[in-house]
Amino acid sequence: MKDHSNFIKKFLSGDTKTLNNLYTHNFYSVEKYILSNGGTSTDCKDIFQSALTIIYVKLKNQPESIKNFDNYLFTVCKNLWKRENVKKRVTNLDTITLESKEIDLASFYLEQQQWELYQETFKKLSKGCQEILKMIFNNKTYKEIVSYFSYSSQTVARQRVFKCKAKLIQLIKKDKRYFKLK
């Protein structure tokens, strides 16, 4: 395992050996993920580059914020790829505006922070709420949820899901990071 703080210093200084090692050790797994999820080689390179730039900005502003660099890099690449697919779906090709690369990265920078806030807050929910929401997010039907939790009806299941989401929203709003991202 890396000497973490020394590694971060070298990364931020743009140390060539450190950056080379990042490519050697991490590019392949990112490439494998993106290629197996409908991407091209060009996509892999763009996403990896963008991820490193995002992480650079994050660490410049919050040096202690990443505990495991390689895991974080992979997660950022996955999220960037998800975002890219959503953008392709929602972009109206007739009224496309040329966004600069920096605007795109800045937007993702804020989106990633929101995502992290929501993931961390989710873990503060009760185990029961976490379980039922995981089922909803994995596209299980209410019929399946009723069967699994032995609820008396789908109405009861829907009420439980709503209460858990409402609790999650309440916790998110209480977090001071929420106001910095609104």
Binding site: M1, L19, T53, N85, V90, F162
Partner: protein
């Protein structure tokens, strides 16, 4: 400002489509004039967006925040770093040096082509081998990811994932044992990482025991994942009888992990 009880009830009815058309129209007007209702619905939509497969929330917040973030990417230092990365990429990705990793990739390329040729042959003249089915179905990319900061145990989980992705399976197994020993609550994902690491190191007997332990935890939402991983073990071990037995169990339970894949595999193997 917190929502009132009746507002929460109306939100629930609105989102569950329990309101009739006129109630819906009235409530929509109420939403338009209420900041806290709008805020609730925005976050509600974002929660769904971030957690649904294939979805992501594009930033629609405050423009000042976006401008502030933009300045971080437009400054000289970030631009210089970005240019440096482009140069490094050219060295590593476009002009791969002739080294061991490059040789491995060339060898893998030939292996993939050879495997594909064998697969084609086998699809014409015989069914795919159990081992081939194991290779086709053992993608570890959808293993859970531990990246969220937390206490010491959470930090160890992050390290465990790191070991696994670096293919340091021995270290992954040792750390998973440590986490399991020190945790008050059994995390099924730790058992999964341990079991998959054991599969990778061909310690299939012990891997079976790990997944039997997972299956025994019927109170855990992910207990049924154990059946799928046992399928993979039996495929790797060329044990058709037990692989079929596990597949039948998954096939009977639509809620179980990889139910669709299990159904398809059953057709291929039977």
């Amino acid at each position: 400002m917190e929502l009132e009880e009746n507002e929460i009830l109306k939100l629930q009815q609105f989102l569950s489509e329990e309101m009739n058309a006129s109630e819906r129209e009235v409530f929509q007007k109420e939403i338009e004039t209420s900041q806290k209702l709008k805020e609730f619905l925005t976050i509600y939509k974002q929660i769904n967006g971030f957690n649904t497969q294939g979805e992501w929330n594009l930033y629609q917040g405050n423009n000042d925040r976006l401008k502030e973030a933009l300045s971080l990417f437009q400054n000289k230092e970030t631009k210089a770093f970005s240019e440096k990365i482009k140069g490094i990429e050219k060295e590593n990705v476009l002009n791969k040096p002739k080294n061991q990793i490059s040789w491995l990739r060339v060898a893998m390329g030939f292996a993939i082509v050879a495997s594909f040729a064998i697969l084609l042959y086998m699809s014409f003249f015989q069914n795919p081998s159990l081992h081939q089915l194991y290779i086709n179905n053992s993608s570890w990319e959808d293993l859970p990811s531990f990246t969220v900061k937390g206490d010491a145990i959470e930090e160890q989980k992050i390290a465990l994932e790191q070991f696994f992705r670096e293919k340091k399976y021995g270290d992954a197994i040792a750390l998973s044992n440590k986490i399991l020993k020190n945790s008050e609550i059994l995390d099924p994902n730790i058992l999964i990482y341990k079991g998959v690491s054991l599969i990778e190191t061909n310690d299939l007997e012990e891997a079976l025991q790990v997944f039997d332990k997972l299956i025994a935890q019927k109170n855990l939402i992910d207990f049924h994942k154990g059946y799928w991983y046992k399928v993979l073990i039996y495929l790797k071990a060329n044990d058709k009888k037990n692989a079929l037995q596990m597949l039948e169990i998954i096939n009977k339970n639509p809620l179980f992990y990889k139910h669709k894949q299990a159904k398809e595999l059953l057709k291929k193997i039977k």
